[in-house]
Symmetry: C5
Subunit: 351 residues, 5 copies
């Protein structure tokens, strides 16, 4: 096996082995919100037992768990809700593909969140899992971040429908947030490709070609991810699981978004591929320019140098050398030859 374990942290372990396979990003914390159309309560805590406080019956409870490296807390919480150990295992193994599993008492969804690291100029993937029960929803994140911030603000401020509706509408809003990030990443990539496109005929460079390589790599990952997410939403829309109460038209709207994201990604990948090939053409075209200069210089000057070489020979009997017109005539002949060559090159459209 390799030195750094990425996919093999769980090599040889039995099922339901609860190992977190991601990186450490920061302290563990939880946000618990209970709400209905009239009230809203929110607590922040590092203590998992605080999630177990009794919830008023009609309210929707949203538990947002940040930092799944704390596997004990994750397990405690999930055990409380009778979550199958294989599901807990999947929450902690961040190499899942986006998927949905419908159980009797809850629905388990895995999604991938794409954020942009301004420093490294690269896309980072975070696994976000969601468990939707009858009247609660639990979200699991690897690291702190603004994924669900817009949603939380709307809940607090009682904006729109979110406080009037149940946890299935909240699920939709959270998934909608995650999908918004795909649009954001595509926007960045499209801008980068536009810049490369505009500068197409200007000097190509290995640095730009390398940029295109990474753009293609990110687009491929994005397409794989969004196709799985499309399947997740398709299952919700077609199978109509009981726990998704009545927000199906919103999930249909989300499904439209996945089609748009797929279309844009495929269009951008086509462009990236064509730009990559275009550079190969430009590099060869540039070589022709360089070769033309070398050939023009050589074709003009090497024959002239032969002439000077002839008259630089030391034969005792070289009549032309005696004439006082010899030198000017030779210079003139050389000038005429140059002119003829330049004319031929101009006619061949080399210059």
């Amino acid at each position: 096996m390799s030195k750094k374990k990425k996919y093999t942290k769980k090599f040889g372990t039995p099922p339901a082995t609860l190992i977190y396979t991601g990186k450490f990003y920061g302290d563990f914390e939880i946000e618990v919100s209970d709400y209905d159309k009239d009230e809203y309560n929110e607590i922040h805590t590092k203590n998992i037992e605080d999630c177990f406080l009794k919830k008023e019956e009609k309210k929707t409870r949203w538990i947002n768990l940040i930092g799944i490296h704390d596997t004990d807390s994750v397990k405690k919480l999930c055990d409380r809700y009778n979550i199958d150990p294989l599901v807990i295992e999947d929450i902690l193994n961040i190499h899942q593909h986006p998927k949905i599993e419908v159980f009797e008492e809850y629905i388990f969804i895995v999604l991938k969140m794409l954020s942009y690291n301004e420093i490294t100029s690269s896309i980072e993937i975070e696994q976000v899992s969601i468990i939707l029960g009858e009247d609660y929803i639990i979200t699991f994140q690897e690291k702190k971040g603004d994924v669900f911030d817009f949603v939380r603000k709307r809940i607090r401020a009682n904006e729109g429908l979110i406080r009037k509706k149940k946890n299935d509408y909240l699920l939709f809003s959270l998934m909608d947030s995650i999908i918004d990030f795909y649009f954001a990443r595509l926007e960045e990539i499209e801008e980068k490709l536009n810049i490369i496109e505009e500068n197409l005929l200007i000097k190509s460079s290995p640095e730009k070609e390398k940029e295109i390589y990474y753009i293609k790599k990110n687009l491929n990952i994005m397409i794989k991810s969004i196709l799985h997410i499309k399947d997740v939403i398709a299952l919700i829309v077609n199978d109509k699981p009981k726990l998704i109460k009545d927000s199906f038209k919103y999930f249909k709207d989300l499904y439209d978004h996945t089609i748009q994201i797929t279309d844009i990604s495929e269009t951008l990948i086509n462009s990236a591929n064509d730009l990559f090939d275009f550079y190969l053409y430009m590099v060869n075209n540039k070589m022709n320019s360089i070769m033309k200069i070398l050939t023009i210089i050589s074709t003009i000057f090497i024959p002239l140098t032969l002439i000077t070489g002839i008259y630089g020979m030391n034969f005792k009997y070289m009549p032309e050398l005696q004439s006082k017109y010899g030198y000017p005539i030779v210079l003139m002949v050389m000038a005429i030859i140059s002119a003829i060559m330049l004319y031929i090159f101009k006619k061949k459209k080399w210059m």
Copy 2:
């Protein structure tokens, strides 16, 4: 996120947020036509309330709304017809893919119109939405233009069937107009590719290669769009929604058009790909021509220059230099060597 918002104008917003995501093209205006086989009335106005005038029962009303940037007017009109807010949102978000949604009281269709900008030499996409009710049809456009002009002229002049039939036939006629524009764009692209094809063996250039790049880009967008439109028409023809009264054979004819457009687009993309690769071959072939000239010149003249260099050396004892035949003999030897080399090159078919 990126500096210019293209896909992220609605980032983090809740559903049914009515934001127009396109550009501003010109003033808002509406055309309302009421007609049946005997009568035809038409008004132009900037005032949305003018659409609410009572319509005679048996007539077909066509409301053509230009400039959906005026979101208030769009909302007022749609509310009047009880259009779902998610539909209004889609009308205003011009990043939809062509689609159809069948509701109880109306059908909602999104299409993409492709026009040609002569100045920039590029294809521009405009989103056109249509709502078909029992006896009315509303069209939403981003900008003024001649999309539906032919249809309007036929209605005014009472040409053909359009005044004798109901709003489903009008829907067909409008979609037929939009699809005609795909044929027009393909015709332009095919002409450009024909020119490039005819000049294939003449000097290739980065400018032409760039032209092929943009042709491929436009064709890819066109294919994605027409495949979605094909699905829209397939749903109409197969599911036979009630609101499409009896014009199914016309929609079948439209479906044929989408197959023809798909065929032509795929054929042109194959050509564009092959022409792009052909240029890479030509650039390398050209390099060979340049290299041959350089090699011929060097192979002939560099050895001759060595000979002149030998006899230009200043050794005290170089017997050949004394002979009065030395110079002419050397010149002759050089001429013979040149002739032999030229013969070899001719035999190698280099010249």
Copy 3:
């Protein structure tokens, strides 16, 4: 729009606009044959009304219309047989894809005929439409030609089954003739590719690469066409339309032919693609040969020229110049250096 109208002749027209979108090939003419197993009558005429002569009941009538540019005649004939105006429109618009439409009283089939123009060395496409009724069959061609000649000869000479069977068997025979032409075109293309293959290692040229480009273009068009024709025959074989009385096993045989044509076309396109790429390799390989010659000449002669240059310098004190062995020693040194270089190149397998 573009200057030459190809796909936009019918831009903005309503459905059932009877415009011929092809070229003018020659005068309009009709051949009408009535036959059964005992009798055979045939007339040639330019007058469409001659088709309306009463037909004996049990006989099969075959009306072969050449020159659909005469839209009036086409319309008159079709009206006589109650053909839907959208069908007449399709007969005249030669940009259809091969298709089949089954009506109550007749079946409408569109096919593409591929002929070879010896002068331009290119494949030409002609649209052939067929209407099959209860006891008649009408064929519509753009231009005169030998498409159905073999069939007509068999009918006249009462060869085989054709006179004993009904119009569905005649339909099969006509479609069989058209499909034979695909085999003929593939045979030509395969011969051209074989020649290119045999000469693979001989000098490649832009002219040959261009030939491969056109071969690929024709094969792509052929594949699209035969795939549609395969769908047409599949519908006949699977749906068993009533008007195809009992010739289903013959259509199954035709279906086999479309599979063979598809296989051969795909094999040839693979070859064409690989030959195209092979030329790119050959062009680069040729460049290596050219570069080797240039490098061998330069590597041998330029250092020797430096030696002659050293001894051509005019320093007052250059002891070697005084020796009477100087010259021969220098020549020998130069010869040895050349020999060593040639040996190194031979070892590097450059020569």
Copy 4:
């Protein structure tokens, strides 16, 4: 049409035209075997009527017909067994694709046999047709060869199950033999590709590139063929035709073989494609090596030659020429310049 008829021998002929479209390989001959678990009889003959001898009831009769160019004999035999004329036509037209047709009284199967011609180093395709009746099986081959030799030996020697079972098991054994030949051809191709792989970094050559071209061509033909054969076996296994009595588990095993052959072929084609592209890279990499040598030689010697040229000028007043240190100093300068250049090239890892 082209000069050599390959696909057009039957151009314009009616169905059931019995023309052999292959080449002449040798004399016509038949082998007829009757057997059951106890007895085995075998005759060789050139006379088709010998096949019509009465067969004992319980025995299996295998008629092996070699040389289908003798169309009369083929027809006589098939008429005897009431074989449909369209089937006889297919037996004689060797451009079929592998297929199966199930009739009431018999099953008709077409297969392709791939043999290796050691002399031309190429794969040759032979069409083998099989008719399976209630108690007989007829095989039709184009040429003599050892296709079914192993099977015949087992029947004669009463090895294994073959004499104990009926003609469906014999059909399986014959098809198994044919499929074995696909493994044999793949083994040869894999060896050739392994050799090319091992020598990847050694000098590439147009001859090797050409070899890869033909390997790809053969693999493509093989894949098309085995995919059709896979469909044939799939029909037998899924539809369970009556005439295949009870050997379905053997045909399932054959189906496994077709999947293995498809897997190996696709793997080899991927390798062949990558090796082909690798050569393009190697050719360019080789060019770099050649260019480096040329550039090193030129960059070192051309400036030194300029120095000798300067001191070879004939100006009257060139002070350096008078010094007795002039010459050694110039030589030293030239040596230092060379050393610096060599050092720079070494640092650039050019050498």
Copy 5:
């Protein structure tokens, strides 16, 4: 046929011919374990009859057979369990594709195990077959190795569920182990590609390109294998064979793994392809650098050498030669020309 038999060891043999088609890896040995939740017994032996010892009724028996070259032992064991001869044949023919066959009394599964050979740096494939009966499971391996070691350790140590559950859970655990190895191989490949990626702009080399070639080859084999394994698990999950008692949720988890492996493999193959093409670009880009140096040197020095050649001519009357300023002026002119050329190259961004 070829010299080394790989796929043709069984050429021409009848079905159920028991020939081992792999290599010899070491001595034959068997491990037999009987266990339930309370007890665990294990024996090691080279004697196949030791497997026939009576098993206590409720216990699960796992027979692990290493070294299937001993075909007699394999046959004896399989006959004891009434395994169909065609299955025994498949166990011994190591060219199977992963598959599952469900019989009345047992299920037969073929899998491919991928191990990594550190010495040759390559992936090695081993075929592992499994027979699952009512209360026993037999595994067949080609060579000794640690495939199932983790599982055995858990059984011995009574860790987790394995001793509490039946042989279907053991089957799942064994398949889980095999699939873990795919993750391990992907991890190695991903590391190799990461290193190549990081060094993209540094000197490319044929050795690295060759490494990418082999990476692609291994990934293609891996993808084919895992797709077949995905089908095997899909059959278990969908068809729910009786012999898989109640461990379906574990097989669903395994199915997720195959999707993840497919995703990672496809992502890595895309990267490998793009890196391969990137090298072609880099090789051409490097050539440009080399050509620029050659062209700069030639363009500066060849014209200067012409000047020295002119003034090295021996014409009697060359006035400039007499002037005492001649030499310094010529040197200055040459310096100015060099400076101008260098400036032009700098402006062209060549340096």
